[in-house]
Amino acid sequence: MTAALRRWAALAMGTFSLWHPQPSEAQATQSVFIDIDGALSGADHYVELHRDTLTVDSTWVLAQGILEGHQVPLVPPLPAGVTVESDRLVAVRDERREVIALRPTRALFERERVPIRISLPRDRGLGLATLPIPTPRARSIQRVRFGRGIRFEVGEETPLSVAAGIQVGRGIGHRARRRADTALDGPHAHRRVGALYVLSDSDGLEGRLYSASEHRAGLTLVAAALFLLAAAGVYRLYRRAQRAVDRERVDAYLASQVPPAEAREWGIATSANANGEPPREAT
C-alpha cells in the first residue's frame, strides 16, 4: 500500500470511527499484530516519581499513519498494574494483565503526536528491572528524560556512550539523533541534557530506578561528615594561628622592653617587616 493510499484509508477509517467510539480499555484479541516497523519517527518519555506514583509521560511522533483497529505491539510489554491514559490509544492486555499492545481509538495520521501517560504505584515502579516506557515494535529512537524526583542507573548490559550531557545507545548516529530531536521538538530543537537515546529493543531498557530524595539523603550524610571535618580543620587552623599571633605579641612586647642587641641574644623576634612578613627569629 502506497503512502497516499494509506493516508486516504486512515482518513476514511477515522471518519468512520466517529460513529463507533471504542471502549476505554480493550481486552487482548487473537488478531495478528501489524508490524509498524518504520511507522514511528521517535518517542519521548519523561519519567517522574511522585509521592505515590511513578509516571511516564510519553509522546509518539508517527512517521506513517496507523489505521484504526490495528494494534501497536509493545516491546517489552508494560507490567501488570500500570494504568494507561491516552485519548487516542487504549491498552490491550494479555491474561497476565500485562499491556502487550496499544490500539488506536481512531485512525492516526502521519506526523501526528500521540501523548500517552503511564502510571503505576511508586513501590511497584521502583522495583522494576526494566524501565516501564511504552515502546512500540518499530525501529525508532526512544528519548528518555528523567524528572528531578527520580534517578536511573542504566544496567551493564546496555552499552551507552556519553556525549556532552547525553547518553546515546549503540546504533544511533549524530544525525539520526538530531532527526529524532527535530521530529519531537520541532525545527528549533535543542540538546536535551541528561537524556538517554536508545533504539527500541525487545528486552527494554534495563537498569535500576531509585528515588532522588533517597539518594539525596545519602548525600546529606556525606555532606554532614564533610562539614564536621571542615569545621574541625578550620578550628585547628584557628588555634594554630592564635598561638602564632600570641607568640608574635609576646615577642613584640619583649622586643620593646629590651635593647635590640640583647633581644637578638635572647632569640626574640624584633618586629614584623614592612611587607607584613612574619617576624623572623634572631639567631
Binding site: A223, A224, A231, V234, L237, A241, A244, V245, E248
Partner: protein, 208 residues
Amino acid sequence: MNAATFDNFRTLLESAAGRTPAGETPARRTQLGTYAALSAVVMAALWGVAAGSVAPSLAVQNLYKVPAIVLLSGLSAIPAGLLAAYLSNSGARATDLLLSYATSIFAGTLVMAVLAPLVAVYYHTSTWAGPLLGLGSALLGVSVGVWVFVRVSLHAVTNSRGRSGVLFAIAVFTAVKLAMMLQLIAIMSPILPQADTFDGGIDTLVSR
C-alpha cells in the same frame, strides 16, 4: 566572650565596614580569616534555627544544614578563586584575598543572624510574610556578602590592572560559591518550612 574573641569580632566588623587594619602579619590574617569562618558557622546556625522554628525537627536539622551549606560552599570556591587571582595577575596576596573572602562571608551571615529573630517571629505569625522574610533575609545576606567582598578586596589594591584582576577573582569566587550553594541547598532541602525555588537545585531553575 573573652577579650581576644571580642577583639577578633570587632576587627572583622571594622574590616567589613571598610576600615581594613594595616600591617597585619600572615598569622594574624589567618587567625582573622578562620575566626570569620567559625563565626559564620555559628551565625548561620542561628538563622537556620529561626527559619525552621515552625517545625522543631527542621530547626534541629538546620543547626547543621545551614552552617554546612555556608562553610562547604565557601571552602569549595577557594581553589578556583585563588587560581583566577593568580592567572589574572592581580598582584593581590592570597592571604589578603582569603581574608576579604572570609570577611564577606562573616558579614553576610551576620546580616542573616541579626534578622533571625524577625524571621522566627514572622514565620510563627504570618503565612505570607514569614516565607518572604526567610528567603529575603538569605538573599540579602548573600548580596551584602558580595558587596563587602568587593569593597574589602579593592581596598587593598591600588593599580587599575590589579583592580580588574581582583574583580575577576571576586567574580570567580562568587560564581563558584553560588553554584555550589545551589546544589548543596538541593541536597540539604528542606531548609525552609515551605517549598521554594531553590529546593531542587539547578533542575528546578531550568525548565523541563
